[in-house]
Amino acid sequence: MLLIKRLLRTPAGVAGLVLSLLVVGLGLLAPVLAPRAYDAMSTLVLSGPTGDAWFGTDQFGRDLLSRVLYGVKLSLKVAALSAVLAAVVGTFLGVTAGYFGSWYDAIVMRLMEILMAFPPLLLAIAIMSVLGNNMTNLIVAIGLVYLPVFARIARAPVLALREEDMVTAAYALGAGSGRILWKYILPNMLSPVVVQLSLAVSNAVLTEAALSYLGLGVQPPEPSLGGLIQEGQPLMMLAPWLAIFPGITIMVMIFAFNLLGDTVRDQLDPRLRRMLGS
């Protein structure tokens, strides 16, 4: 609640929050808001934007607005689940590596370094080429790509926190490692993870769109925003709206999440908050 109050203090925060809620709302309500089923064909092929079909229709007479709305839903689902997967697994690995140290820390962090040695999109492409194209694999691939960042971000504060008096006191009172991690370490290092999570969602939206554009994401007829651009590209001179509207939608989604993520970071980073305030 405190974070939302802080977000509402700045125009960028308000804009980011409103736009993000709008995007999430559109995605969640896609089945209600979509004028037609995303795969319903009609005789009205390649029609430009009109009062009946706001975003026009494609070569099979399918309503583009409906396909874009379902695309937003799919994109949000993949992005949110992969970001959460990366955040949960990455934070677990980072926190435990930082707390237990020793060989476990060395192995985990070397593994993370190796994963980070691959350009993210290329790693996602390689994973998808091995796992095959379906939504679960897409979520796992994108989650794996962003996991090392969370592990690194989570590990750093734990190194300092484990030396704090509260941890020593809890240990002296007989608390086990699990309890210390859950009660004393985790609540005190979540801010950077939350910031990274908000930024990871926008990165995941972009990665999902790029993979779908390359034909490595969710397969047709299920609409994904990147896939819609790919489908529209050969018809661009004849029906430019097929590529324009899905692209603008991705742009608005990323803009909204970036704006929100930036403001969350500004508000949760005390040093930055002081700088902005001064």
């Binding site: 691959f118 554009y213 990147g226 590209q233 001179m237 590529a243």
Partner: protein, 330 residues
């Protein structure tokens, strides 16, 4: 390593140690990358021979076993890895499962295009972003600052492959010569090459420009708030000198870091952009290879790009020591 005690050579010696330490550190990462890419092909259902034969497999189990023995697939996994690594160190990436041609040859032929695209995008974005970032920081809170930040925010949000698609559309309508899909190598006709590369470079470079601009602005703002900047101004040093000699040089480390880190993102982005503009680079090779289930080609391309990324990161690390002498003393 024994270092001479004289102060003049001590700095050079520390720099050498710093370089050796970083070089040694890159070896386990490169080995890890090689293990991961090697395992990639072994995670596939079946093995390379089964993938190669596809659904038209009419061989008897005996013939399959012979073929697997021929490719060394009957050996323990770690022996296969060591053998693969040995070939790799001699520049042998195996052969394409589809065309039978050396994978290394196919990838190296395409690599020049990817590197050219990445370097051009990097040059464009750094030139644009650093100048915009410095101006935005110096004019903090003004219209120029607001404009630069807004452009950066939009630049960050545009998917590069969509920007590429829109640029093709715009060029087809207004400047058809720019919408050409026929790639000409640079050394064959530099003008034609650069004309073909203009739109892909812009599509790829714009999001990096946004990131670097934000980092430049933030780094410059932090440095401009330091006491030594106030001291320089109080001494009457010209503002141009304060900004470029005192502030910009000290703001360079985070800028170099972000540019170096983003090189990998550019390489990844190049994979997509090459497919948008039909450029014959590694990105096209990878995607075509995935569609044809040509996994040795995918493996080789991924390995080569990842190795290049590790080397770039190493160069970035080494450049810190040159930019800021304090780092090599630590």
């Amino acid at each position: 390593m024994a270092c001479p005690s004289r102060r003049s050579v001590k700095g050079e010696c520390l720099m050498l140690r710093f370089v050796i330490k970083r070089l040694l550190w890159a070896i386990p990462t490169l080995l890890g990358v090689s293990v991961l890419t090697f395992l990639m092909i072994h995670l596939l259902p079946g093995n390379v021979v089964q993938v190669m034969l596809g659904t038209s497999n009419t061989l008897t189990p005996q013939q399959m076993a012979e073929l697997e023995a021929l490719y060394g697939l009957d050996r323990p996994l770690y022996i296969q890895y060591l053998s693969w690594l040995g070939d790799l160190l001699q520049g042998d990436l195996g052969f394409s499962l589809r065309s039978g041609v050396s994978a290394g040859q196919l990838i190296f032929n395409a690599f020049g295009v990817t590197i050219e695209l990445t370097i051009l995008a990097m040059l464009l974005s750094v030139t644009l972003a650093v100048s915009m970032g410095v101006i935005a920081a110096v004019r903090r809170g003004g219209w120029l600052d607001l404009g630069a930040r807004s452009v950066a925010m939009v630049g960050l949000s545009i998917p590069h492959f969509w920007l590429g698609t829109m640029l093709i559309l715009g060029a087809s309508l207004f400047i058809p010569s720019l919408a050409s899909f026929s790639y000409t190598p640079f050394f064959q006709d530099p003008a034609a090459n650069l004309r073909t590369m203009l739109l892909p470079t812009f599509s790829l470079g714009i999001s990096l420009a946004a990131i670097v601009m934000r980092q430049t602005r933030a780094a410059m703002l932090e440095v401009l708030g330091q006491q030594y900047i106030q001291t320089a101004r109080a001494k009457g040093v010209a503002e141009r000198v304060v900004i470029f000699r005192h502030a910009f040089r000290n703001a360079l480390i985070p800028i170099v870091t972000i540019v170096g880190l983003q090189f990998g993102y550019l390489l990844g982005g190049a994979v997509v952009i090459e497919n948008v503009f039909a450029l014959p680079g590694v990105g096209r090779v990878v995607v075509d290879a995935i569609n044809q289930r040509d996994y040795t080609l995918v493996q080789g391309s991924v390995l080569l790009i990842a190795a290049l990324f590790v080397v770039i990161n190493l160069i970035v690390d080494l450049s810190y020591g040159l930019i800021n002498p304090r780092i090599r003393y630590q």
